[in-house]
Subunit: 320 residues, 3 copies
């Protein structure tokens, strides 16, 4: 999907779009995490605003509905003092038969500065980045099964916050990895940041063998998967997959792969438990774990705002 | 529903959430009305903005749709310079099976400062106030049949504006009181502010005898109900109740309880007529009354913005 | 529809509402275009904001859905630093049976400064302008088949930008003119600005003979219609008209009236091609033309923001 030159970087190697964690150099990942850490403090101030994007127009283009993700981007953009325009794309011109690229050309002509794009088709944000005007920056807010890079980056922020160093960690990702753009973005970023052991844990239907090509260790057995792990990333089990050929039932899944206090006891004593949310209590995670002392699920949300502020401010500052 | 200590007040007796007019001390009610009166002037200025909530994030959480009420809160928050996030809750995570408290925990983690909550279930804003982070303030924008405290407060503002003193008034509330959170909020506030005679006027199905426990005089007869009243509060008759067992027909209701110029002539010559809107012309109120010289229905709307600004600025200034 | 005195102007002849290009004096049209030209530069600045409407409340009242038009007004208002309130009117009080004028009276009481109104019924913005409070200004964002004056004005801006002088031009408007509020607004403005030849091009069903009463030359033949034209305005063919009694088929229409490079060769060598968008590629316009060197469709969008900023800032500055 990547063209020969990384479309996310300009000729000086600076970030101009955020499309995927794949292909992002470690220096850029670190720049984003370092910048996010300065923004985290902004959220705790009396006045939670900085003027970095004042007068910029940020368009939320959610071709696929996601109130939660859209909200985090809207908050991040407003804390940077941007003007935010939410487009109800489903009800708009695309419905009148206008092509994606015509819609993008029109919105660019409104002197947009940034598009935050969620789309059900993998690659849509790349297409937009390739065709939009040079002054417009694109952030991928999730495309098909492909990538969800800001979620990947907030996961890296969370891990760094609690574990400091990536180069001695064991990270287990558990559940429906094959359909998960979050897992894919996590694996690329963890690899670049030097995590020595990444495990993908789940049944063959959800964790196919060819995931090994991404450099991960595939574990069919939950005990093997989380033993001595420093970080456990639980994925959301999509309700629509339940009872399909892929999965027998929620109860069956929970029995084998649901994270309970008993299973968690196999991990390192100071292991952290992460989840991109929204959680399915009793399906992929037990309430005692979700609300327990290992859980960093709510800090992930807080870090997510700071990471999105970092991404938006960095790309807005770099010329194509 | 109230826990032992009033959950709306901190240990210094200061307002930290607005959940109900029930249990609010007269001093707090008066503080809100006095503050609103300073904000009323802001709305008449060339630049209708004050920086009191600058950099604060106000989330409109409307689990039940109400464009009008949401709009008044949005305007009030923006005139206080807050960042406003409108969440289309019906389309969001709760639809994915996430619990109310998980949704709230997530939004709190986004460093929200205030939740404005409308919910079809009585008590939902209390539950949220009890479980949200200490830095978050909750305003009830209407919960089930229970309370609609900002409407109650704007009604008090309107009465004080036109009548100055509460302690010599007769106030008649007419119509569907049993289903009305507005009536309930009005009755609590009127009682605390010292109104000596509060009348509830309507048929047994809409004004049950046990309303007397709230200290109101129940009147089945409209003439008795509004005779010599200083203030008449007409309630909206919900269309969905018409033709049910509770109510024969709109025409029948209007004949007995609809406010016409003839019936209004029974009230004091300087009586004011109020209505929370939207009005049903010819159902609970005659157009000649709604548009006549006794009507203060549109000033209520203007006062409502100032009252909501007052509530938000007061609670944002008090620590839990 | 116009009352004796032009309801758009105050007693000093200054613009207080924008309802139609019909009846606007040339001096007012020129004032809008000149002001827009100063705002065009704002959109190219690092910080795309001016404080002219700071603290003003602009309400987008879209009784008929149009994400694209609403977005352009929202951007324009935010670049003027206004607070923008988007009302989802379809889901709001009007749905509860409230009349248009009661809704307007209520919103006025919230101390609105401006209503941007889109309505499926011709004349609705006039009704609102006649009944709203004196401090409120109304902008027609499209009413029925009647008028779409900001589109008309941005078309004039585009023509002036590329052609400098109106008084020696031939302008051809092609397609479904009878249903087009854009065409109507264009014809009035072009006439007032002194364009000597305006042609309406299309079949009898879409371009009836009585259009001649507006002073236009009616052409049934496309070659006759665009020969030696300086400006060609293509109109969008509404999908819902296809296959009806009015129109045989999209293919048939394109054959006769679709703008192809071959037909465009009949116009002046430096002719410009305009379209209000969204375009139907291969129905009214060939992609080679839409994306070709004569096309100014995307500049129209950019100019549209500046023109809307001009209209809003001018009317907000004039007292009723």
């Amino acid at each position: 999907m990547l063209s020969r030159r990384n479309p996310q970087l300009n000729s000086h190697g600076e970030l101009i779009h955020l499309l995927s964690t794949e292909g992002l150099p470690r220096a850029v990942l670190t720049q984003i995490l370092d910048t996010a850490s300065t923004f985290l403090a902004v959220g705790e101030r009396e006045i939670k605003k900085v003027p970095l994007l004042r007068g910029k127009s940020v368009f939320n283009l959610f071709f696929e509905n996601s109130t939660r993700t859209r909200t985090t981007f809207e908050i991040a953009a407003k804390r940077l003092s941007a003007d935010v325009i939410n487009l109800d794309i489903a009800r708009s011109s695309t419905a009148k038969g206008e092509s994606l690229l015509d819609t993008i050309a029109n919105l660019s002509a409104m002197q947009a500065d940034m598009f935050v794009v969620r789309h059900s088709e993998s690659g849509a944000p790349y297409l937009i980045a390739q065709h939009c005007a040079p002054h417009v920056h694109v952030v991928n807010a999730g495309d098909g099964r492909h990538a969800h890079p800001t979620q990947g980056l907030l996961d890296m922020y969370t891990i760094r916050h609690f574990k400091k160093d990536f180069t001695n960690l064991t990270v287990a990702i558990v559940g429906d990895i094959v359909h998960s753009r979050v897992a894919r973005s996590d694996i690329h970023a963890l690899t670049t940041l030097g995590v020595p052991e990444i495990r993908a844990v789940g049944p063959t239907t959800l964790v196919p063998d060819n995931l090994r090509e991404m450099g991960v260790r595939v574990c069919r057995d939950m005990a093997e998967g989380i033993r001595d792990a420093d970080v456990i990333i639980m994925l959301r089990l999509q309700n629509e997959r339940m009872g399909s050929a892929l999965l027998p039932s929620a109860g069956e899944f929970f029995k084998h792969y649901g994270l309970t206090p008993e299973k968690l006891a196999l991990a390192k004593p100071d292991a952290i438990v992460m989840h991109p949310g929204p959680i399915n209590r009793g399906v992929e995670i037990d309430s005692a774990v979700a609300d327990g002392r290992h859980s960093v699920i709510l800090p992930q949300v807080t870090f997510g705002i700071a990471v999105r502020m970092a991404v938006m401010s960095i790309i807005a500052g770099n010329d194509a």
